[in-house]
C-alpha cells in the first residue's frame, strides 16, 4: 500500500469515526423521511446530494488541501521531501488518503440519493449526475493540492484560510451544476452536437485530468524532481482548444487567436504573481544558459515565460485573422482586440516590471507593488489623462487604444524601458 495513503488513513479513520458517520447520516435521512409530507424520494435525493456536497466537495476538499499545509504547520515537510517516494505516489497518496473519510460519507450519501432519484428520473440521467459530482469532487481536491503546493512557495496563508477552495468550489461546482440542470438542450462544440449533460460529464473528466496532472507536477516540483516545462503551455493549449470549441464555425480562427492570447495572458500573469521570482532562481537559469546547458536551464525556468512565448503565435494569428472582421461590432474596433501584438509587448513589459520588483533587495511585497503599478498603468493614469480629452497622450501611456502601428511602436518603447530598468536592478543586486 502507498505509505502516504496509509498514513492518511491512520489519521482519518478510527473505529469511532468510522461508526459515527453512518449513524449521523442515518439520523439525517430519517429526519427528512419522517418530516417531509408526501413522497419522500425527491427530498431524500436532494438531501443526499447536499450531504454529498458537504462531505466530498467541502470536507474532502478541505482535508486534501490540509494534507499539504499541515506538513508545514507540523514541520514535517522536509521529511516528506526526503522520502524516496515518487511525486505521483505522494500526490495520489495525499489525494485519496486525506479525502477518504469524506468519500466514505459521500458514498453512503449516494447509496441513498441515487435510488431515491431513480424513482423520479431515468437511471442514465441519475448516474451521469452522480458521475459529474464525483468527478467534480476529484477535480476540486486535486486542484487544491496543486494550489496549496504552489502557495507553499510564497508562504501564503490564503490556502489555510480556506478562501481558495471556497472560491474553486463555487466556480467549478456552480458551472457544472448550471450545465447539468439545462436538460434537453444541446451543446455545439467544434461543430459537433452533444447532449448538455453528456458534455458536462465529459468536460468534468477533462477538468479532473487537468487537476490531477497539476497536482502531480506541483508535487514533483515540491519534491525537487525537476521536469521540462511543458505542463503550463499544455494547460494553455487545452483551455484554448476547449473554449474555442464554442465559437461559431465561421469565426473559429480569430476566436482561436484571441482566446489563445487571452488564456496565455491570464496564465502568464497568474504564474508571475503566484510563483516567487527571486534573483537566485534567475541566476541559476542564466548560469546554465551561459554554460550552454539548455536542458538544465529549461529544468529551472519558471512557468510564465512558457506562456509568454506561446502568446506570440496566438497574437500573430489573431492579428491576421481579425483583419476581415475589423468593422464588425463585436471586435470593438481600436480596442485591445485589434492590437494583439502590442498586447504581447505590454505583457512582456509587465513581466520585466514584475521581475524588477521581485529582485529588489528591500522589497517586502513585490507582488503588491507590481499590482499597484499595474493598476496605475492600466487604469488610473489613462483615466486621468483621458479627462484631458487628448487621445494621443492616452495612447502613449496605454498603447492598446492607439492605431495599430503607433501602438506597436509605443509598446516596444515601454518594453525597452522596462528591460533597461530590469538590467539596472540585475546589476545592482549582484550577490556579495
Amino acid at each position: 500500500m502507498n505509505p502516504e495513503f496509509q498514513r492518511q488513513l491512520w489519521l482519518q479513520f478510527s473505529a469511532t469515526r468510522a461508526a459515527l458517520l453512518p449513524l449521523l447520516l442515518v439520523a439525517c435521512f430519517a429526519a427528512v423521511y419522517l418530516t417531509v409530507p408526501g413522497p419522500s424520494a425527491i427530498p431524500l435525493a436532494w438531501s443526499g446530494a447536499a450531504l454529498f456536497g458537504v462531505l466530498v466537495l467541502g470536507m474532502g476538499t478541505f482535508a486534501a488541501g490540509a494534507s499539504v499545509t499541515d506538513e508545514i504547520a507540523d514541520r514535517t515537510w522536509d521529511q516528506q521531501r526526503m522520502s524516496a517516494m515518487q511525486p505521483w505516489a505522494m500526490a495520489w497518496g495525499k489525494l485519496a488518503g486525506a479525502s477518504a473519510y469524506g468519500w466514505y460519507g459521500g458514498a453512503l450519501c449516494l447509496l441513498v440519493a441515487v435510488p431515491s432519484a431513480r424513482m423520479a428520473e431515468p437511471l442514465a440521467f441519475v448516474l451521469k449526475i452522480a458521475g459529474t459530482a464525483i468527478l467534480a469532487g476529484l477535480c476540486l481536491q486535486a486542484l487544491l493540492i496543486a494550489v496549496n503546493l504552489q502557495l507553499l512557495k510564497t508562504n501564503s496563508r490564503i490556502s489555510r484560510r480556506g478562501g481558495v477552495w471556497a472560491l474553486l468550489l463555487v466556480l467549478l461546482w456552480g458551472s457544472a451544476a448550471a450545465l447539468a440542470t439545462l436538460r434537453g438542450e444541446r451543446v455545439t462544440w467544434w461543430s459537433l452536437g452533444f447532449d448538455r449533460l453528456d458534455f458536462a460529464l465529459a468536460s468534468m473528466v477533462l477538468f479532473a485530468v487537468c487537476a490531477l496532472v497539476a497536482a502531480w507536477r506541483s508535487m514533483a516540483e515540491a519534491l525537487a524532481v525537476r521536469q521540462m516545462p511543458w505542463g503550463w503551455p499544455a494547460l494553455a493549449l487545452t483551455v484554448t482548444a476547449y473554449l474555442t470549441g464554442f465559437a461559431p464555425a465561421q469565426r473559429t480562427t480569430p476566436v482561436l487567436g484571441m482566446v489563445g492570447l487571452c488564456t496565455c495572458a491570464v496564465l502568464t500573469y497568474f504564474a508571475l504573481v503566484a510563483e516567487p521570482q527571486p534573483r537566485p532562481l534567475w541566476q541559476r537559469v542564466v548560469q546554465r544558459l551561459r554554460s550552454g546547458d539548455w536542458r538544465a536551464a529549461a529544468l529551472q525556468v519558471p512557468r510564465w515565460p512558457t506562456t509568454l512565448l506561446l502568446a506570440l503565435p496566438f497574437a500573430v494569428l489573431a492579428t491576421l485573422a481579425l483583419k476581415p472582421y475589423a468593422a464588425a461590432p463585436w471586435t470593438l474596433s481600436d480596442s485591445i482586440l485589434l492590437q494583439p501584438l502590442a498586447f504581447v509587448l505590454l505583457l512582456a513589459r509587465d513581466c520585466a516590471l514584475a521581475l524588477f520588483f521581485a529582485f529588489s533587495p528591500k522589497g517586502r511585497r513585490p507582488v503588491m507593488a507590481f499590482a499597484v503599478l499595474m493598476l496605475v498603468l492600466y487604469g488610473l493614469l489613462p483615466w486621468l489623462l483621458g479627462a484631458a480629452d487628448n487621445s494621443l497622450v492616452v495612447s502613449l501611456v496605454l498603447p492598446l487604444v492607439a492605431r495599430s502601428s503607433l501602438s506597436m511602436a509605443v509598446a516596444a518603447v515601454h518594453l525597452a524601458a522596462a528591460l533597461a530598468l530590469l538590467r539596472w536592478r540585475w546589476l545592482a543586486t549582484e550577490p556579495k
Binding site: Q6, L11, R81, S83, M85, V225, P280, F359, P431
Partner: protein
C-alpha cells in the same frame, strides 16, 4: 542478519575507497548574498564529520544542498556516485537527514511513525516490521511503541526523529543541530548512538554549535565561514575510517635548525602535506601508516635534517576551530585542507 550489518558488509565490498559525498564548486546564493562560495570537499566512508562555523557560515545551506532540498546556483553534489540534483529520490534512499527544525506526526504512534518512515524510504514490506522493532530498540523507544509522538519527552522525540532518519539504514546521515535543546544525559545517549552508527559503517555529517559534544564522536572537522571552507581535516591522530581507508593525521616535527630549507624538502616526501612551517617546527598532515612514519624519520636523518622530535598534534575540536578562524582573520585567506 540485521539490516545495518548487511549494509555495512555491502559498504565494505563496494565502497572501500570511493568517497560517500563529493562536493564540487558548490555555490549557493540567497537574494543579496552568497551563502556558499565554490565549496569543494569529499567525505570518506565511515567518518563522522563535525560541520562547524559561526552563525550564517553556510552550514545549514550546505546540508540542505547535500540533501537535494535546495538547488544551488552552480556546482555538483554526488552521493555514492549519484548526482543529487539529477536523482534526488534515488539519493534519498541512501541518505537520512534531520533538520534543525524537525517535526513529528504528533497523531501517529511511535510504531506508526517509524513504519511510515521505513516504507516511504522504500524499504521492502517484509523488512519493515523488523526494521521498526530494531530501530525502536536502538533508539531506546522499544517500550514506547504504542505512545503517540505528542506524548514523548523532548529527548524521546529527538530520538524518534533520528530513528525515522536511519530506519532505512542509509549510508549517509546528515544532522543539523541534533542535540539542540537536550539535557546532558540525553546528549550523552545521542553521542553513543552516533558512535554506534559510525561503527556500522555509516558516514555522518553533524552540524552543531556544541563543539565539546561533537568532539566526543567526530573524526573530522569541516569548518565553514562566509560560505567557504576554512578547514577540513581529520581531528585525531591515528584516526582511520571504519572502512579502513587511509586518513590523514597531523604531526609536528621539531628540528634543531630553522626549517626554511627543510620545509620544501618535506613537502616532496611521500604521504606528506605541509600545513605550517614556523621557526624550528613544521606541522604536516601525514597519511601513511606507522612504517611510513618511521621511514620519514629515517629520510630526515639521511638527508641531514637534524630532527629533534616528532609527535602527533592533539587538539580538541574547539581549539582546531578557533585556530582556523584566527588564521583566516589574520591572513584573510581560507586555508583549504582536504581531508
Amino acid at each position: 542478519m540485521p539490516i545495518m550489518q548487511r549494509q555495512h558488509i555491502r559498504n565494505k565490498e563496494s565502497h572501500l575507497i570511493q568517497p560517500v559525498i563529493e562536493v564540487s564548486d558548490l555555490t549557493f546564493d540567497y537574494p543579496g548574498f552568497r551563502a556558499l562560495d565554490n565549496v569543494s570537499l569529499s567525505i570518506a566512508p565511515g567518518t563522522v564529520t563535525a560541520l562547524v562555523g559561526p552563525n550564517g557560515a553556510g552550514k545549514t545551506t550546505l546540508l540542505r544542498c547535500l540533501a537535494a532540498l535546495d538547488t544551488p546556483l552552480s556546482g555538483s553534489v554526488r552521493v555514492m556516485g549519484l548526482d543529487v540534483f539529477e536523482s534526488p529520490r534515488e539519493v534519498h534512499r541512501l541518505m537520512g537527514y534531520l533538520s534543525d527544525n524537525f517535526g513529528l506526526y504528533s497523531d501517529l504512534t511511535v510504531a506508526q511513525g517509524l513504519e511510515y518512515a521505513a516504507r516511504s524510504q522504500g524499504l521492502q514490506a517484509q523488512a519493515v516490521p523488523e526494521a521498526v522493532r530494531a530501530t525502536a530498540r536502538r533508539m531506546g523507544l522499544g517500550d514506547k511503541m504504542g505512545n503517540l509522538a505528542s506524548a514523548l519527552s523532548r529527548g524521546q522525540r529527538q530520538r524518534l526523529a533520528i530513528g525515522q532518519a536511519i530506519i532505512h539504514a542509509p549510508q549517509v546521515l546528515l544532522l543539523d543541530e541534533p542535540a539542540s535543546g537536550l539535557d546532558p544525559e540525553a546528549r550523552g545517549a545521542l553521542a553513543d548512538v552516533f558512535k554506534a552508527l559510525q561503527a556500522q559503517g555509516m558516514s555522518l555529517v553533524v552540524s552543531s554549535h556544541i563543539l565539546a559534544e561533537l568532539d566526543e564522536y567526530s573524526t573530522h572537522m569541516l569548518a565553514l565561514n562566509h560560505g567557504r571552507v576554512l578547514e577540513h581535516r581529520a581531528l585525531h591522530p591515528h584516526t582511520s575510517s571504519a572502512m579502513g581507508a587511509a586518513v590523514e593525521r597531523m604531526l609536528r616535527l621539531e628540528f634543531v635548525t630553522p626549517v626554511d630549507a627543510i620545509a620544501p624538502w618535506l613537502q616532496d616526501q611521500a604521504h606528506v602535506r605541509l600545513s605550517r612551517a614556523e621557526g624550528h617546527a613544521v606541522e604536516i598532515g601525514f597519511s601513511g601508516d606507522k612504517a611510513a612514519q618511521a621511514a620519514l624519520v629515517g629520510a630526515c636523518v639521511a638527508a641531514g635534517h637534524p630532527l629533534l622530535t616528532i609527535a602527533p598534534i592533539t587538539e580538541n575540536l574547539q581549539q582546531s576551530y578557533l585556530k582556523s578562524l584566527a588564521a583566516e582573520r589574520a591572513t584573510g585567506s581560507t586555508p583549504r585542507t582536504p581531508a
